[in-house]
């Protein structure tokens, strides 16, 4: 090692000694602890989001199948090209399946209207990155959870359940929630 390199080592040691006592400001610890506390209970694991999304998809598919108009049962049905042509045998004389019992001309069912609150931010403070994209997941919660957001709930309805849409960030963190009721 040359004398300059040896001197450089000594100078670097001195520089290291000058910063050895440095540490983050004390308030940062409190800030991070608060962030840890906030994110711990409200965190939505990926699997929960996936399960919720799966349930929603399944419910949506079931609703779509149930509402789809069904063909008249007596006539043979020929599938349209380009699919392979399938000729079905005449329908059995027995009672029709429940789904087919609905008349084709049945008047449209009046669907209850959804009324939702604004999206309410879940409390993470200022440290979360801005949301660029996310997923919306419908969940059912006890009506009493409305009180956590300062919303009024009648005492006798506390035990009832209410629908809510939870906005999940890209990292799976629940960022905001809105409550939905049917009118």
């Amino acid at each position: 090692m040359s004398s300059k390199e040896a001197r450089l080592e000594a100078e670097l040691r001195e520089l290291a000694a000058s910063t050895a006592q440095l540490e983050a400001p004390a308030e940062l610890e409190a800030k991070l602890r608060a962030a840890y506390r906030r994110q711990r209970p409200a965190r939505w694991p990926y699997w929960a989001a996936a399960v919720a999304a799966g349930v929603l998809l399944a419910a949506g598919a079931a609703a779509w199948v149930a509402r789809r108009p069904t063909p008249a049962p007596a006539a043979p049905v020929v599938a349209a090209s380009p699919q392979p042509v399938v000729v079905l045998p005449p329908a059995p004389v027995g009672p029709p399946a429940v789904a087919r019992r609905l008349p084709a001309t049945r008047p449209a069912r009046v669907r209850p209207r959804e009324v939702a609150t604004e999206f309410l931010p879940l409390q993470y403070g200022e440290i979360l990155a801005p949301l660029e994209s996310g997923n919306l997941v419908r969940v059912r919660l006890p009506r009493s959870s409305l009180t956590s957001f300062g919303l009024p709930v009648a005492e006798e309805r506390m035990a009832e359940r209410i629908s809510a849409d939870v906005l999940l960030g890209e990292d799976g963190t629940a960022r905001a929630i809105r409550f939905v009721s049917l009118r």
Binding site: E11, E29, R33, R37
Partner: protein
């Protein structure tokens, strides 16, 4: 009890939602993270921001830690390094001369000797800050944090040979930049 746990054990507890474990891990590792960020950026503001980001990332992504790839300490250095480079990329005018006083302990010796010492330290600090980032991080980890080559390689995610060559090149550049200082007689401070 947290004091007796290893970093990896604390991290497991953090994952399980133990706030005291998080605090213990933070207290144990914040100094090294903050200091590394400060020495890489020359800015106390950036060092604080990086420290915050490192521990927020730990909360979010602690499950990504793989013990077979290194210690928790090198994992944190790795996150810190990523954050520092990101910020350096964002803002290249990061060296704040006004902040350098924070790094200096209070003067206890002869004012003239102390002044000379501070000037030398400041010159070396600036020389280190002027190194290209890949050489700088090798010098900061190995020379200022006294990390071994293997540990530094884990932190930076590169081969040991790469660390050696970057360190060698970084030191050579420092000798070049500080040739005036290193050629002059050194006034050592005596306590």
């Amino acid at each position: 009890m947290e004091a007796t746990l290893t970093d990896a054990e604390l991290l497991q507890a953090v994952l399980a939602g133990d706030e005291e474990a998080f605090t213990a891990l933070y207290r144990r590792r914040q100094r090294a993270v903050y200091r590394f960020a400060y020495e890489m950026s020359g800015s106390a503001v950036v060092a604080e921001e990086v420290t915050q980001e490192v521990f927020l990332a730990l909360m979010r992504d602690a499950r990504r830690y793989d013990a077979s790839r290194g210690t928790v300490a090198t994992y944190l250095y790795g996150i810190a390094r990523h954050q520092v480079l990101r910020m350096l990329e964002k803002d290249r005018k990061m060296v704040s001369i006004d902040e350098t006083d924070q790094a200096e302990p209070a003067a206890q010796e002869d004012p003239l000797v102390e002044l000379t010492r501070r000037e030398r330290v400041e010159l070396v600090r600036r020389a280190v800050l002027s190194l290209p980032a890949n050489y700088r991080e090798a010098v900061v980890l190995c020379d200022l944090h006294e990390m071994g080559y293997e540990e530094a390689a884990e932190a930076l995610g590169c081969a040991v040979g790469t660390i050696r060559s970057r360190l060698h090149r970084g030191r050579a550049l420092l000798v070049e930049k500080l040739s005036g200082l290193l050629g002059s007689p050194r006034e050592r401070c005596t306590a």
